[in-house]
C-alpha cells in the first residue's frame, strides 16, 4: 500500500497516453484513459488535451497541488494489439480497490508493467511478411484475379512487406515511405510480369496497393471529428489524403517510367 505522488501520477498518465497515441488510438480514447488513470490515483481535477503530435496534461488534486507536463509524440505506427493491452491494464487498475491514492501497485510496479507491454514480443518478422503476402494475394482474388495472379500478387506482397521493413529502418517520413512503397509494388509486379505470361497487371497492383491504403487514419479522422476533437480530426484527415496522394504518385511515376522504357 503506497501513495502515489503527483509527479509519478503525471508521469504514468503521460506514458499511457504516449503508448496509446503512438499505436494509433483515437484522441477521445487517449484523453479518457489518461483522465481515468490519474483519477484512480486520487487526482480528481485532471485535464488532458491530446493532438496527434503532442500530449498536454495537467494533474491536480485541489488548489494546492498542480503539475503540468507536455510530451511531443513522434514515430506513429499502427499497433492495435498494444492499444488493446493498455486498455485492459487500465480497466484492471480501475477495478482493484485504489482508494484515496492508496494502491496495491506502486508507481514503479505500474511503470514496469507498462514497459512490459511496450516491449512485448511482436510476431516474428517472417510471419508478418508472410501475412502481408496473404493480404495482397486475397485482395487480388477479391477484385477478380485468377489463380496465377493470386500467386504473383502473393510474391509481390511478400517482397513489398520486406522492403517496407527495410525502409522503416532508415526512419524516413511517412509520405516518402508510401511513395517508395507504391513505386516498389509496381516495379515488382512489372518485373514478375516479364517472366510470367498471360496475367493482368491491374489486379496485382491493386492487391499490392491495398497493403498501403491509409485505413486507420481514415477511420480515426471520422471518429475524432464525430467526438468533437476537431483539431485531431482535421489533422488525421489531411494525413489520410496525403498518403493516398503519395500512393497514387508513387505508382503513377513508376508505371510511366516502365512505359517510357518500352514495356
Amino acid at each position: 500500500m503506497t501513495a502515489i505522488n503527483i509527479k509519478e501520477a503525471t508521469e504514468i498518465s503521460l506514458e499511457i497516453g504516449r503508448m496509446l497515441l503512438q499505436s494509433g488510438a483515437t484522441t477521445n480514447r487517449v484523453e479518457r484513459m489518461m483522465r481515468k488513470v490519474s483519477e484512480v490515483f486520487g487526482y480528481q481535477h485532471t485535464e488532458a488535451y491530446v493532438t496527434p503530435t503532442g500530449i498536454f496534461i495537467s494533474v491536480s488534486d485541489s488548489q494546492t497541488q498542480l503539475n503540468t507536463s507536455i510530451r511531443r509524440i513522434e514515430n506513429r505506427r499502427t499497433d492495435l494489439g498494444k492499444i488493446t493491452r493498455v486498455s485492459h491494464l487500465v480497466s484492471e487498475l480501475e477495478q482493484q480497490s485504489c482508494r484515496e491514492g492508496q494502491c496495491r501497485l506502486s508507481a514503479a510496479d505500474f511503470m514496469r508493467k507498462l514497459a512490459e507491454i511496450d516491449n512485448a514480443k511482436d510476431y516474428p518478422a517472417w510471419f508478418t511478411v508472410f501475412c502481408g503476402g496473404l493480404t495482397s494475394g486475397c485482395f487480388c482474388l477479391l477484385f477478380g484475379g485468377s489463380w496465377a495472379e493470386f500467386a504473383v500478387a502473393y510474391a509481390v506482397g511478400i517482397l513489398v512487406s520486406l522492403a517496407l521493413r527495410l525502409l522503416g529502418l532508415l526512419q524516413i517520413n511517412n509520405f516518402l515511405l508510401n511513395i517508395l512503397g507504391a513505386a516498389l509494388v509496381v516495379t515488382f509486379a512489372k518485373l514478375i510480369d516479364l517472366g510470367v505470361p498471360n496475367i493482368a497487371l491491374d489486379n496485382i497492383i491493386i492487391g499490392g496497393i491495398m497493403l498501403l491504403v491509409p485505413g486507420l487514419s481514415f477511420v480515426n479522422a471520422i471518429r475524432d471529428t464525430m467526438s468533437g476533437d476537431l483539431v485531431s480530426g482535421t489533422a488525421r484527415a489531411v494525413e489520410a489524403v496525403f498518403i493516398a496522394v503519395a500512393i497514387a504518385a508513387g505508382s503513377g511515376v513508376m508505371l510511366k517510367l516502365w512505359e517510357l522504357w518500352g514495356y
Binding site: 483515437t26 510476431y123 493480404t135 486475397c138 491491374d202 491504403v213 481514415f218 480515426n220
Partner: protein, 141 residues
Amino acid sequence: MQFIWAALSILGFSIRVNLKGWKILLLALGGGLSWGLYLIFLYYSNSLLFSIFCAVILVCSYSEIVARLIRVPVSVFVTCVIIPLVPGSSLYYAMQGFIAGNSALASEHTYKVLLISGTIAMAIAVVSSVTNIMFRLRNRF
C-alpha cells in the same frame, strides 16, 4: 468464395497490425461479412453507394456488439472490418487515367473515390452516434 477471400485478407491484415489470440478470427469473420453484404446489396439494389452504406452500417453494428462482448476497443474492430470496402481500386484506376491523359476516366474515378469514402464515413458516424445515444439512454434509466 468471395467471402472466404475477404476473410483471409483481413486475417492477414490483422496479424500485420499485431493483434493476437482468437479475436482475429472474429475480425476475419467481420471482414468477410462486410464484403459479402456489399455484394448481396449490390446484387439486389444495383446501386454502389447504397450497398456500401448498408454494408458498412450492418458491419459496424456487428463490430460494436462483438467488440464490447470480448472487451476490445471498438475502433480496433471497425478499422479492420471496413478495409475491403476502402476504394483502393478506384484510386488506382484514377491514377492510371491521369497518366494516360484521359481526364474523363480520371475524374470519374476520383469522384468515385471521394463518394465512396464519404459514404463509409457517414455510415461509421451514424452507427457510432447511435450507439452513443443508446448507452446514454441506458445509463439514465
